[in-house]
């Protein structure tokens, strides 16, 4: 009995002590570049993809997802976006086309996640130039995960690629064509594919030496529905190279619009812009 009451008392104190300890640890920030965050804010890409795969889409089903970008320091907008997206029916997931953070800091990525984790659906990201500022590289890798990755959902393969050439001083590594080409050649059993990156090839921040190889690789990719970007803070759906490849640019959170994207068939799609 004595033992039980002791255990009870300890059990009551433990969570409070743990909470204070945790809060203390987070508050004691070694530097704004300090990327220690609670475990729940790490490996978010992997965790969100696991959530997505737990709700598989039947083969042949139409896919619907939300496309947006550049959350940066628009936390008020993030809050409203989540409320709006949670009203949408038949959505599988949400994509943020880079610039999750404004200054490449761990706290910012955590602040954005604190909003987006309230979505009814999982979300995935691709890295943007702002996420690469300062020590953003190890920070993004720790909190979200890989800079280049792909996944198949339903009949669609999504290829997420780092195109922030200027952050690497146009050294020929971003986009990593050696990684991208085999990704485009092998759809991993999917019917169609989508490429998502932050900086569009039409932009000055795209590595000029890689622009032609990138655009050509996309034009040659079988069943490419479209290529999607952020960075411009302005939505557009165009074929700038007249090569049959559609480039879709997202609104930023600040523009208070997102896109509801529906994909079916070999490469059919419909895009609806929603104000929030």
């Amino acid at each position: 009995m004595l033992y039980l009451s002791k255990l009870y008392r300890r059990a009551r104190v433990a969570p409070v002590a743990a909470l204070l300890g945790l809060a203390g640890c987070n508050l004691i920030e070694f530097s704004p570049n300090d990327h220690r965050v609670p475990e729940e804010f790490t490996s978010l890409t992997e965790k969100n993809l696991a959530r997505l795969q737990a709700r598989p889409l039947a083969a042949g089903d139409t896919l619907r997802f939300i496309f947006t970008g550049d959350s940066q320091q628009f936390y008020d907008e993030a809050k409203d976006l989540v409320a709006s997206v949670n009203q949408q029916k038949g959505i599988s997931f949400l994509i943020v086309a880079g610039d999750i953070s404004d200054f490449g800091l761990a706290r910012e990525m955590q602040w954005v996640d604190e909003h987006l984790r309230r979505l009814n659906v999982p979300y995935v990201t691709v890295i943007g130039n702002h996420d690469l500022v300062g020590n953003g590289r190890p920070t993004y890798a720790h909190i979200f995960g890989a800079f280049n990755y792909s996944f198949v959902y339903g009949d669609t393969k999504f290829i997420m690629v780092d195109t922030n050439g200027r952050e690497y001083n146009f050294d020929g590594t971003a986009p990593d064509m050696g990684w991208l080409r085999p990704q485009l050649a092998n759809r991993d059993g999917a019917r169609r594919q989508v490429v998502i990156s932050h900086v569009p090839p039409t932009n000055d921040d795209f590595d000029p030496a890689l622009r032609t190889p990138y655009v050509r690789a996309l034009a040659e990719a079988p069943n490419l529905v479209f290529e999607m970007n952020g960075h411009n803070h302005s939505s557009s759906i165009t074929q700038p190279y007249n090569d049959g490849v559609t480039y879709v640019n997202s609104d930023a959170f600040s523009e208070r619009h997102y896109m509801v994207v529906t994909v079916w068939g070999d490469k059919q799609f419909r895009i609806k812009r929603v104000k929030f």
Partner: protein, 214 residues
């Protein structure tokens, strides 16, 4: 919780203002009139040494400081270190802190409480990875610096008055302190989000430190 903390600090400082009586006479007299034969304190000799963790100035930051205006104003110069494991790369930080502590409340003969220290800091970080190489960006590409930070701080401290150094008669103190702070980038984010998207508490950082006057 944090609002409560602020309120407590504010009340404490107001209380101190209401009772202006016994403000640290020991230190003042000892400093003003050193015993005969005491060697003059060189102007550049620091008044205290500091060791702290957090506050955005390093996992460990050590330095020295000076005191002015009857020790109510202080300047600390700190060198901080963050290992690669936590910062993404090994970081060294050079920081300058300015603090104003208007009140000192004696607690018994050997202790003092400094209920309120307000101040500001400036820090420069060396060793970040993507560090704006020359020509990497046009001049207004990013409006913020990745390496220089500044911000406000607010804290309290508890001071133990040690017996003076026997040889010189210099007064000695050992203080432990905490400081809540933030930085220019976090504050800018908060100012742009006044509709509940970002809470003020999310901006705060905490520093814990020890200061030894000698």
């Amino acid at each position: 919780m944090k609002k409560l903390l602020f309120l407590t600090l504010l009340l404490a400082s107001l209380g101190a203002q209401a009772t202006p009586a016994p403000i640290d006479t020991t230190t003042a007299t000892a400093a003003d009139a050193p015993p005969a034969g005491t060697p003059e304190r060189k102007w550049f000799r620091p008044k205290h040494l500091v060791l702290q963790t957090g506050g955005g100035l390093g996992m460990v930051a050590a330095g020295a400081g000076y005191e002015f205006a009857k020790d109510r104003l202080e300047t600390d110069i700190l060198i901080g270190y963050v290992p690669k494991k936590y910062g993404g790369s090994t970081l060294s930080l050079a920081s300058l802190k300015f603090m104003y502590s208007p009140f000192r409340l004696p607690v018994g003969e050997k202790f003092q409480v400094v209920p309120l220290t307000v101040g500001a800091y400036f820090s420069y970080t060396h060793g970040t990875l993507n560090d704006e190489l020359k020509g990497q960006y046009s001049s207004d590409y990013y409006w913020f610096s990745t390496d220089t930070r500044y911000g406000p701080l607010l804290g309290s401290r508890l001071t133990f008055l040690a017996p003076p150094v026997a040889a010189t008669g210099q007064p000695r103190k050992i203080s432990v302190y905490y400081e809540l702070g933030s930085n220019d980038l976090y504050l800018a984010s908060w100012l742009n989000n006044q509709k509940g998207g970002l809470g003020f508490g999310q901006l705060l950082t905490l520093a814990l430190g020890v200061k030894a006057d000698f």
